[in-house]
């Protein structure tokens, strides 16, 4: 494979005024459980494969989509491979139409913060 191929969007970061309320709505819509809850941020998902981060909107920011994460294959054979990240990928970030676009090729196991919490093989 000599070029990057998009597999699909696998993650999003959403800015919201009411983080808890937004997390409930997004969890209901996607079926993703709360994975991590910290001050001003709730992470939904099982692992790095599909996730939604709800983040408290900051002064001067508008609520809405802040980041989209796109999974690709084929990057490893390109000159620009990106840098290793905590999700287990090589990734590159850029701004596209006001949204941060993070392009990632999964290549290794995720770091502890992103490792799947539910145990078992089913």
């Amino acid at each position: 494979m000599s070029q990057r191929v998009a597999l699909g969007f696998h993650g999003a970061v959403i800015r919201a005024s009411n983080v808890s309320m937004a997390a409930v709505l997004w969890s209901r819509a996607t079926g993703l459980p709360v994975r991590k809850r910290s001050r001003g941020e709730i992470v939904l998902g099982f692992g790095p494969e599909i996730f939604v981060v709800i983040r408290k909107v900051r002064r001067g920011e508008a609520p809405g989509v802040a980041e989209l994460h796109l999974a690709v294959s084929g990057s490893s054979r390109l000159r620009r491979r990106g840098k290793s990240d905590a999700l287990g990928g090589d990734s590159m970030r850029g701004l596209a139409s006001g949204v941060v676009l993070e392009v990632r090729e999964f290549r290794r196991a995720p770091g502890p913060a992103w490792r799947r919490k539910r145990r078992g093989g089913d």
């Binding site: 692992g47 287990g88 196991a109 490792r115 145990r119 093989g121």
Partner: protein, 235 residues
Amino acid sequence: MSAHDSLERRDPNGHRQAGPFGAVLLDLDGCLIDSNDAHAEAWSTALARFGRSVPASRLRMQIGKGGKELLRDFVTPAEHYFLGAAMGEVETDAFLSRFASRVRPFPNAAAVVREMLRAGLKVVIASSADRRVVERALSLLRLRRALTGFTSADDVDKAKPFEDVFQLAIDRFRLGSRRPVAVGDSPYDVAAAHQIGVPCIALRSGGFPPRTLAEADARFDDLDDLWRNGRGLFA
């Protein structure tokens, strides 16, 4: 002990063609090297790194499938789609770094391959394993230069139990006119070969229960047994 009453080649239209066979599509793991347990351990290790606790004993009977096929029973569709390739990379790394050193060739297996080649047979290693794993094994066996060739999972989109690995070996090394026979240790070898009308001889050396190899066209204990007791099957 051997059993090869039903051994015959079928063309794509299902017509029977008797041996002898002039080419061998030979699986690697479980046929030439005693590596199936090590791969099960490596997969268990790899899945644990993704937060999945799957004992090697549950993975053992899936060894022989390509990585993405093996994973289907143990991860969600989303994990399979987005992380399947990475899980395969981690398994290969774990195998090579932690488990490969304990893998040993089966007694006399490499010698049998050399005898097959001396007898004029074409012998292609048709494996679903990662290319690095195949190359390491062939170095261990000192067979790399002697073989007609080899294929690996890297050469095809769909590994065993799909037929792609065997079909590629037949096409790449022009074996179609030589009456090829597949030799493998798992039901996935049998399924892959039969999809393209190639008979499959199963070897029990891979540790699969006999009932799982019932669809094979013949069964032998190992490669040495095949060559000693099934020599007449080959040209």
